[in-house]
Symmetry: D2
Subunit: 159 residues, 4 copies
């Protein structure tokens, strides 16, 4: 049983304007999985709905506790890209589960987005990687502690 | 360097009617990869544009020769689903490369399709699996020779 | 109150293969209208689910009777393009209602389709045109009896 | 010859985050028209790229001058929704051309948007309405000076 935790980030952004109240919507992951013929074998729990620039230490403790207290050994976390590397680092000492963080540069609600590819990529990584903490972005797997977002290039790279 | 071979199948189907001449179009894989921030690191070659029900032994020899003669060790083959298991079987004796077959139940040109997820899933499988021949469909990895398409359920399953 | 009658055609085509039973699905028109903030003010009735090449005189009598017996004065008919001009001709003597036929060259379920534009275009035409029978395609309004589909150019033109 | 002027607004919004520089992109209108089989018969000129809340009197003078000085008699203006009614009012004294303002509640770059329907709807309105200034939104035609955006209902209504 795969456990999905959602924390917000670009992947779940909705369109908002000056008059909007919310900018992060319901996760589209269940809908994307259903379109890909995946209807069972996972549970999803929403932990946060934050732009990852606004995530703080308390939020990371919450994520860590959710990961350790759940009984699944395969955990997918959807997360904003700006501090994804920091959250991966904060989980890096957890050594008994396969934990994969992913997200998107463009919201899943856009016509053109990396969201679906990234979810598919992370779904395989989760099943094939040994226990550890990883980031799965731009078609590559990175280990926690050895990865950063290159803001200018808009992609993840090894440190 | 990842080598992609396209052979046709639902993933590349275009809309056609009684007056249309072609029913399988250019592969959308390069466009889907670009939307997912993957611009380099692969080569793509079109081998066939066939509904996989129309693939014959000669076609499978062609695919096998393309796989053996290319110098890449990671090979992604997009393929129609109806005989994907047969082509995987025909390649199963190749033991020195990681060969992943994928495709789609709904064309990549549809609003709702499993194509992008499947390409993302196969992209990770290709990088993480040991040498061997695999089918990557409906969020699962299957070994060649131990998989079939369940027509009624419209999904792949272990035999 | 706008009355919509659906008769099938490309606009409602779903993806089908050699193993599929149906090739024309539920009309997407209510979903497309809802996305465009139109939730009330219309009724929809499915009359046929046919490729318009298969429509016969009996089918056209059915459409004509549906148009005459309904109490609305604004009638939108979604229809396959190949014989849309013939059905318009068969309705041309009806002079007390505004009747607009539209459809699509690419199914509404495709990523890229003329369906939504055509429905929007027809929606305005229906409200602004005087009583009569019209075809609304490729951004133009044509009068019944003076229009044909140019198969090669894949567009409608005046005769 | 239809003249299109773009001024920005939600219809042309791109996804932007705290690190983005631009929030309004190239107009998608030519791409949307091409998908709808409309390749000729119009010219497009970008006047502004503004959220309409930021449009001022000077901007409206610019729009008015563009409308009066162009030699077309059918003018489509894409515009943000928040002050679309004000710009329509500022143009209302122009009596010799058919001027239609439209826009969108959701960006054209979203999977689900009213953009394509609205462009299609406005395209027909432009051809069928007499000279005057109109807003074409949510499947209805409104005359300049007698329309407002209902922020809560997220739709236009008569005043």
């Amino acid at each position: 049983m795969i456990q999905i935790f959602t924390t917000g980030g670009t992947i779940d952004k909705v369109y908002f304007d000056a008059n909007s109240e919310f900018e992060i919507g319901e996760s589209l992951v269940p809908e994307l999985l259903a379109e890909s013929n995946i209807h069972t074998g996972y549970r999803l729990q929403g932990l946060l709905r934050k732009d990852s620039l606004e995530m703080n230490d308390k939020d990371r403790v919450l994520v860590r506790e959710a990961v350790t207290s759940c009984d699944s050994h395969q955990i997918l976390i959807t997360h904003g890209t700006d501090t994804m590397a920091e959250t991966a680092q904060a989980l890096a000492s957890l050594r008994h589960k396969t934990i994969v963080l992913t997200g998107a540069m463009q919201p899943a609600r856009m016509r053109r987005s990396d969201s679906v590819f990234n979810i598919g990529f992370a779904w395989a990584a989760l099943q094939l990687l040994p226990a550890g903490v990883y980031i799965a972005m731009n078609g590559e797997v990175f280990e926690a502690g050895a990865v950063r977002k290159n803001l200018k290039a808009q992609r993840f790279e090894r440190t």
